[in-house]
């Protein structure tokens, strides 16, 4: 199909001298909410980072809206893993969200009151308005994740990449984040999310990309997210905990 918003062709990347991604090719349709699912070390984060030029590719090409990354990076929002930054950094929640506007504000210029208001509204949307002036190290893990998401929202991008936004957050935050992701999708944005919980894949995502160093399977969740494909992704050593539930445990390599 030609209307794909992301086209990845034969992408390969290595991480600490190991080739973690090889021959990764897929296309993403606009307005989809895709879960990237795979075992630890499958290259999920590396895939996102390589697509966003945060990690050098070995070969292959990635195009967004038919253009290379550099021309469209302002239309792309990225939510890194919560652990990727130092939360002891002396700043407050509102300030972190305002960082999402730095591209719009322009370099070497100060944020105006309008920008602060925008950032505050994004925090409010994430249910964090009361924590705007809270030092970020005093926020819980779930609250930190909400701040990161608010920062992405304020960017008003067309395309969002999120690296495990649901890792280590409580149930309320998980619901809040998923509501926002569905809102984004409903307003025509395209979202790709690295996800870990196999049980919730069906409820959360309309598309799924099963990844283990290369694309195992990709498509509509209902078509692709089958027991066989999951088994293929997670290796042969799968044990089904309960036959009727899509809940698996795999042995450590």
């Amino acid at each position: 199909m030609d209307d794909a918003i992301i086209k990845v062709n034969h992408l390969a990347a290595s991480y600490r001298r190991n080739t973690v991604l090889h021959d990764v090719s897929f296309e993403i349709q606009p307005g989809s909410l895709t879960g990237i699912v795979g075992p630890n070390g499958a290259g999920k984060s590396t895939l996102i980072k390589t697509m966003l030029h945060l990690h050098p590719p070995l070969k292959g090409s990635v195009r967004f809206f038919g253009l290379p990354f550099k021309k469209v990076k302002k239309r792309i929002g990225y939510v890194p893993q919560r652990g990727s930054v130092d939360w002891e950094f002396p700043t407050n929640a509102l300030d972190v969200v305002t960082m999402g506007l730095y591209g719009q504000i322009g370099w070497l210029k100060n944020p105006s009151n309008l920008h602060k208001k925008k950032a505050y509204e994004a925090l409010d949307k994430m249910g964090m308005a009361n924590y705007a002036n809270r030092q970020i190290s005093q926020l819980s893990g779930g609250q930190q994740q909400r701040v990161f998401l608010a920062r992405a929202l304020v960017q008003d991008a067309d395309l969002y990449f999120m690296d495990e936004p649901l890792a280590g957050v409580d149930a309320a935050t998980e619901v809040a984040i998923m509501t926002i992701l569905k809102d984004l999708k409903d307003s025509g944005k395209t979202v790709m999310v690295v996800h870990h919980d196999l049980q919730t894949v069906k409820g959360y995502f309309d598309h799924v990309l099963l990844l283990n160093r290369t694309v195992i399977s990709h498509g509509k969740t209902n078509d692709v997210y089958t027991k066989e494909n999951i088994a293929k992704t997670y290796g042969g050593d799968l044990r089904w905990m309960r036959e009727e539930q899509t809940h698996v445990v795999h042995s450590i390599e």
């Binding site: 130092d86 950094f89 700043t91 300030d95 960082m99 730095y102 920062r151």
Partner: protein, 307 residues
């Protein structure tokens, strides 16, 4: 004794060490949040051979020439650390330890050569080890002042950019900030701050002026800007205080006194710091415990009342 302080040269030296302290306090905050405090120590030590080589080539004790040599030498050191880390299995701290001691050893060896070579004007090169602010002449002071003011300008012109670069560089890149550009600028201001400080503070203790003020200021505030301002203030105080004390004795080195003042400010911050100080934490803990005890008593009273 006070006449020394009223001497115009001493006053100029004091102004320059104060501005140096301010610049170090600011750049130290960057190094602190980049987790590169030890890196600044390695670079300071690595600058010594450059100073001596520059002197051996030009036979002149002009600070500007010597700090160019120091900067080149420090950058070579930085390059080696980077190279060792990326192309061998040696970890960064080991690489820094190696470069620090090898370059410093080389510097001391060259210093011995310089001291033995003909001509009497090499005396004073020793001051680059422990620092001797009093040995600075007017042109040295001017060189240092101008470069330090330049560093301070670079910090405040791009405050917002520095903040996002230090907090979340990957996100900054997505926002269109050039990480390569920021890395280069960061290295440039770090090396500049180090090399302008080595005559007044010395290569051994220069890193203390970059490390101690930021750590101290972190106890007082939760805002990046306030941390920078406080760190600059602490650095400036240490610079001026150290220079005054060393001016009282003849030939007293400046570096150690600057470090002692900076450490004093650190101890005060550690105990009395408004945000993370030991005292405030203890008081909060006591207050909480008191509240808990009262609640418990209330609970007992209530249950008695119920009976």
């Amino acid at each position: 004794m006070w006449s020394i302080l009223l001497n115009s040269n001493t006053q100029w030296v004091m102004v320059s060490t104060m501005i140096l302290g301010v610049a170090s306090g600011l750049i130290g905050c960057f190094a602190y949040w980049k987790r590169q405090s030890l890196m600044s120590d390695a670079l300071a030590h690595a600058s010594l051979p450059g100073v001596i080589i520059a002197f051996l080539i030009f036979r002149e004790k002009n600070l500007f020439i010597l700090i160019i040599g120091a900067a080149i030498s420090a950058l070579i050191g930085a390059f080696f650390i980077q190279w060792i880390r990326s192309s061998t299995r040696i970890t960064e701290d080991t690489a820094m330890g190696m470069i620090l001691s090898i370059f410093y050893g080389l510097g001391i060896m060259l210093l011995t050569v310089a001291n033995r070579s003909a001509g009497g004007n090499q005396s004073g090169l020793d001051s680059f080890i422990y620092g001797q602010a009093a040995s600075m002449v007017r042109s040295d002071v001017m060189t240092m002042l101008i470069l330090a003011l330049l560093v301070i300008f670079v910090v405040f012109a791009g405050l917002k950019e520095w903040k996002i670069y230090l907090f979340d560089p990957e996100f900054a890149k997505g926002q269109g900030l050039s990480l390569k550009g920021m890395d280069t600028l960061y290295t440039a201001v770090l090396v500049t701050t180090i090399v302008i400080g080595i005559q007044a503070v010395g290569v051994i203790l220069m890193a203390a002026l970059l490390i101690i003020p930021p750590v101290s200021s972190n106890y007082w505030t939760n805002s990046f800007k306030t941390m920078l301002l406080l760190s600059a203030f602490f650095g400036g105080m240490a610079g001026i205080g150290g220079t005054i004390i060393s001016a009282f004795g003849s030939g007293w080195p400046t570096g150690p006194f600057i470090v002692i003042i900076a450490s004093g400010l650190f101890v005060i911050s550690l105990v009395f710091g408004k945000e993370k100080g030991i005292l405030i934490n203890y008081l909060y803990f006591k207050k909480d415990r008191k509240r808990m005890t009262y609640e418990k008593k209330d609970g007992i009273l209530q249950s008695r009342g119920a009976k």
